[in-house]
Symmetry: C2
Subunit: 165 residues, 2 copies
C-alpha cells in the first residue's frame, strides 16, 4: 500500500491497546487529544461505520481557525486493529468539495493498532495523497511534528483512561 | 442519502436477482454489457472488497477513447443487495488524480438490487456528485440515456445467463 506519496508516523505507545482504541474511537475522547496543543478541537463527530461522518473543527491560538471542519468519511473499521477515513469523500461517500488551508487537498488516513506486549501498543498512521505535491503540502504544514505531538497526547490520554477505569 | 446533486436511474429488470448480481459483479460479465453500445469495454478489473480496484476502459466508435481507465475504488459490497464504488479514490483508498473527459470529475455510484418477485429485480443506480456543476456535466454527458441503455443490456445479459445456466 505504502508508496512515495505517503507520509508515515509510527510510535510504540505506552498504553494498552483497549484504551488506545477507546481514546481514538470515542469522539468525546478524541476531541481531547487529536489536535496538537495549543490547537484545540471545538467540534468533533465520528460515526464508526463505513460511510459514516468524521468531522473535526480545529482552532489555533488567537482563535486561528484551520478550516470549517469539512466532513470526511469513515471507510473501514476493524475493532482494535484498523481505522480508515478520507477527506476526499463526505458522509454517505459523496465526493467532497475541497476547502481552504488545511482542507485544500484530500488525503486518506490508514491508522493501525497492534498489541506490542507489556501493555504497549504499536501505532501507525499513514496519510495517502494523490501525488507528490499534496504530500509535500501536507509535510510542509508540519505533518511529522503535528502527528508526532498528537501521538504523545494520545498515549497520555489513554494512560489517564486507565487510571480512571 | 439522495439530494439535489445526485443523478438517479431506476428500472425493474426482467431477470432474477441472482443472475443480475452475477452479471454485475463478475468482471468478465460486466465487460460485456457495462458500456452503452456501440461503446465497448476493452479492459475491466473489479475486486469485490472494500478498498479493491474498479477500473474500466471504454472505447467508442472509430476507437474514440473515453479516458485511460483511471482506477476507482470499491467501498461497500453487500451480496445481492448493494455495491458502492467511487472514482474519487483509487485502490487502497488513495485519493485519485482526476483525468480528462469522462474522468474529469469524481462521482460515487451507489447501486442497489432487490427481488421484485416473479423473477424480476428492482435495480437502482445513484450517482453522487460534490456539487451541481459536476452533476450537470455528468447529465450532459448523457447519464440518463447511457445508464438507461446499460440497464437494458444488463437485463438482456442476465437473461442469457439464465438460458446458459
Amino acid at each position: 500500500m505504502a508508496d512515495g506519496n505517503d507520509l508515515v508516523l509510527e510510535r510504540t505507545l505506552d498504553a494498552p491497546i483497549d484504551l488506545v482504541w477507546e481514546a481514538y474511537t470515542n469522539p468525546q475522547h478524541l476531541k481531547r487529544w487529536f489536535a496538537p496543543r495549543p490547537y484545540e478541537i471545538t467540534e468533533c463527530e465520528l460515526d464508526l461505520t463505513p460511510g459514516g461522518i468524521f468531522r473535526i473543527r480545529m482552532v489555533g491560538p488567537d482563535n486561528f481557525d484551520t478550516g470549517h471542519g469539512v466532513p470526511g468519511c469513515v471507510l473501514e473499521v476493524a475493532d482494535r486493529e484498523k481505522l480508515v477515513w478520507t477527506s476526499a469523500l463526505g458522509p454517505g461517500y459523496r465526493p467532497n468539495e475541497m476547502g481552504e488551508g488545511c482542507e485544500s487537498f484530500a488525503f486518506t488516513a490508514v491508522v493501525t493498532f497492534a498489541d506490542a506486549g507489556n501493555g504497549k501498543t504499536a501505532y501507525k498512521a499513514v496519510a495517502l495523497h494523490k501525488n507528490a505535491a499534496d504530500r509535500d503540502t501536507h509535510a510542509n504544514m508540519g505533518f511529522e511534528q503535528g502527528w508526532g505531538t498528537v501521538a504523545g497526547q494520545l498515549e497520555e490520554f489513554a494512560q489517564a483512561l486507565k487510571v480512571n477505569a
